[in-house]
């Protein structure tokens, strides 16, 4: 792949079954091109997936493009090139005529950025910056994850309409349908990190990446299970997950483990290829990825405990420091050990507060603390909502829609809605979220808001003491974070030649 080859012609072939015609068309086009003294590269969309994929640089360098397919071959890539687009049989029947037609065709539309910016010489793929490669893999994961967050988040939010403890059969507002909604929504959201990891790995290593990717994602949310009594690794124990950051790490790990195995197994005889695909890759990659993921999940429990102790030690350091710590922790690694430390500490203090009873100092401090934690968890999704509305043109349609849904998720304390946005650009979106959350938390403490409910977002407003101040604190955090987010997207948009970065 590294050699600097350009082709006179680029083609993509595909058919529904992807066994026969796709490849016959390739053969026909290659023969016809050779007979004319032209070079051609044919990308096939067959049953085994895309093979011989053409690069943006190759598209750019080609004189013309031929699409011979009865299925989608992402012809949008070829915009701005002289092109003919026909059914797959046309290429088998008359490849010669098709090539003439393509060369005579007029270019239509505008080239995509990827093609326009591709180096004139191919080999551009090799030179693609590391940052961009990582971003591409990450985005494959994010786009698959997004829909899980939306489905799971909305179902969970709807379940709260019956009351925030309606899932709990011992609670007064119990409703079995609401419980089922919350179960479905919860499972759907739990799939988010495994899907993220799996599709990062798939982007790196194609289909074989899925097995270790899903596995790594599951370990990322479950952590290393340890027996509470013995302190030893125990399949029946429970662990502290690593959150979506662990999913990202796991996805890349899984993808590159497969890449490594491809090298290791390259020496095996060809007739073992079938065995490789269904046996060796899944088995070895799962084993290696699993061990490494469990290994790096080990310290998560310690980080979690450490952060909880740290937060407790700040109890008397004043609203600004405490609010800053809560805000930064909540928005740092949503679902990871640091975020959980803040949330668990919040609920623990709330339990103490409720036990101590209304009017006591413990009650006041605990409910105030909880209000800050909840504010910090509600702010991030609302930041995205504000940003996609105000800075609409800087976001893709998909992001815009997800941002709108985040209004529901934010108002119901479902922080996960912000994860896809954060994953896409950890820097600078994570710090932006941390700033927004901190502002919400600090103001909630300063204004003496007291929240006696551990969850539920704005649905628990009737029981919040200082509800109006609380909403204002959250909105201020969301607007400031949102403005920063829009500014970042704006500069990114301008850097990208006044185009939304996909």
């Amino acid at each position: 792949m590294a050699e600097e080859t350009t082709y006179d012609l680029i083609a993509a072939t595909g058919c529904p079954t992807g066994i026969a015609h796709t490849f016959m068309a390739k053969e026909a086009l290659e023969k016809a091109a050779a007979a004319k003294g032209l070079t051609i590269k044919v990308e096939t969309h067959g049953q085994v997936g895309i093979e011989n994929e053409v690069t943006p640089a190759e598209i750019k360098a080609a004189k013309a493009v031929i699409v011979a397919a009865d299925k989608d071959v992402q012809a949008g890539r070829f915009a701005g090139k002289p092109m003919v687009s026909v059914g797959v049989t046309a290429a088998i029947k008359d490849p010669d005529g098709l090539i003439d037609k393509a060369l005579a065709a007029k270019a239509q539309g505008e080239m995509t950025d990827a093609v326009k910016n591709a180096g004139a010489n191919s080999g551009d793929v090799e030179k693609e910056s590391v940052g961009h490669v990582i971003y591409k893999h990450l985005m494959n994961g994010v786009s698959h994850m997004l829909v899980f967050v939306v489905a799971g988040g909305v179902l969970t939010a709807v379940s709260f309409l019956w009351g925030i403890t309606s899932f709990d059969s011992t609670a007064a507002d119990y409703n079995s349908f609401a419980a089922m909604l919350k179960i479905i929504g919860g499972i759907c959201m739990n799939l988010m990190v495994p899907v993220l990891a799996a599709y990062i790995a798939e982007s790196i290593a194609d289909r074989p990446g899925l097995v270790p990717g899903f596995l790594a994602g599951m370990i990322a949310i479950q952590g290393l299970p340890v027996n509470a009594e013995t302190g030893l690794i125990d399949a029946g124990g429970s662990g502290v997950g690593f959150g979506f950051l662990g999913g990202i790490v796991g996805g890349f790990l899984a993808g590159y483990v497969i890449k490594l195995l491809e090298k290791v197994f390259a020496g095996l005889p060809k007739n073992l290829n079938g065995l490789k695909a269904i046996f060796l890759y899944p088995l070895c990659s799962a084993f290696i990825t699993g061990l490494v993921m469990l290994g790096i999940s080990g310290p998560m429990a310690a980080i979690n405990t450490g952060m909880m102790d740290f937060l407790k030690s700040l109890e008397s350091s004043g609203p600004i420091v405490l609010g800053l710590a809560i805000g930064c922790m909540c928005a740092f690694d949503m679902g990871g050990p640091v975020n959980k430390a803040a949330y668990v500490t919040g609920t623990a203090m709330l339990t103490e507060a409720l036990t101590a009873g209304v009017g006591t100092d413990t009650y006041n401090f605990g409910t105030n603390f909880m209000a800050a934690v909840s504010a910090a968890c509600i702010v991030p999704p609302l930041i995205t909502t504000f940003a996609v509305i105000v800075g609409k043109k800087y976001f893709t349609q998909e992001e815009h829609d997800a941002g709108i849904v985040n209004l529901i998720l934010g108002c119901t304390h479902i922080t996960e809605g912000a994860i896809p946005f954060m994953t896409k650009n950890i820097w600078p979106v994570m710090p932006i979220m941390m700033i927004g959350s901190s502002i919400g938390a600090i103001l909630s403490i300063l204004w003496g808001v007291h929240d006696p409910a551990p969850h539920g977002g704005f649905l628990v407003l009737p029981v919040v003491d200082g509800g109006l101040q609380w909403v204002i604190a959250i909105l201020i955090g969301a607007v400031i974070g949102g403005i920063l987010f829009v500014l970042f997207k704006k500069s990114d948009y301008e850097k990208n030649g006044n185009k939304v970065r996909e």
Partner: protein, 150 residues
């Protein structure tokens, strides 16, 4: 894979006179060969593929194919018809030989690739002549194996 193409998979003097009959015949043979386990399901799968666009190619060859749960392992079945069949082929010629490619659901990539390479062989006029001139299964299998070995 050892039985992927073997002389036992080649049938001469096939009596079919229509595409549907030919597909049913091929499905029946695949089950007889223990390469598939459901004649009706396999026939339907082949017909469904045919409905998406003819597999009648050029020079008297058709390449019906299907991916179906009824198929046990990736295999090739060849039928030589006693009379040409109207198959709506690309060059309008009646079909004399059908090379049928069968793939199970979730076939290994390597098997799918081999099936595809059999299809590509049809693009080679020399290969087509060899098959049309063949009078026994062994020579057809040789022609395919030689082509795949290239």
């Amino acid at each position: 894979m050892s039985d992927f193409v073997s002389a036992s998979h080649v049938f001469f003097d096939c009596p079919a006179t229509t595409v549907d009959e030919a597909l049913a015949y091929l499905a029946g043979k695949a089950v007889e060969l223990d390469a598939a386990d459901d004649v009706a399901a396999l026939t339907d799968a082949l017909k469904a593929r045919e409905a998406e666009g003819t597999t009648g190619m050029m020079g008297g060859f058709a390449i019906p194919h299907a991916k179906s749960a009824a198929v046990k392992e990736a295999t090739v079945v060849v039928a030589v018809f006693s009379q040409g069949i109207e198959w709506n082929s690309m060059d309008g010629e009646p079909i004399k030989v059908a090379i049928c490619l069968l793939s199970p659901e979730g076939a290994a990539a390597e098997h799918l690739k081999t099936l595809s390479r059999v299809a590509v062989l049809l693009m080679d006029p020399a290969f087509r002549t060899k098959v049309l001139d063949a009078t026994d299964g062994v020579s057809i299998v040789e022609a395919i194996s030689e082509g795949l070995a290239k």
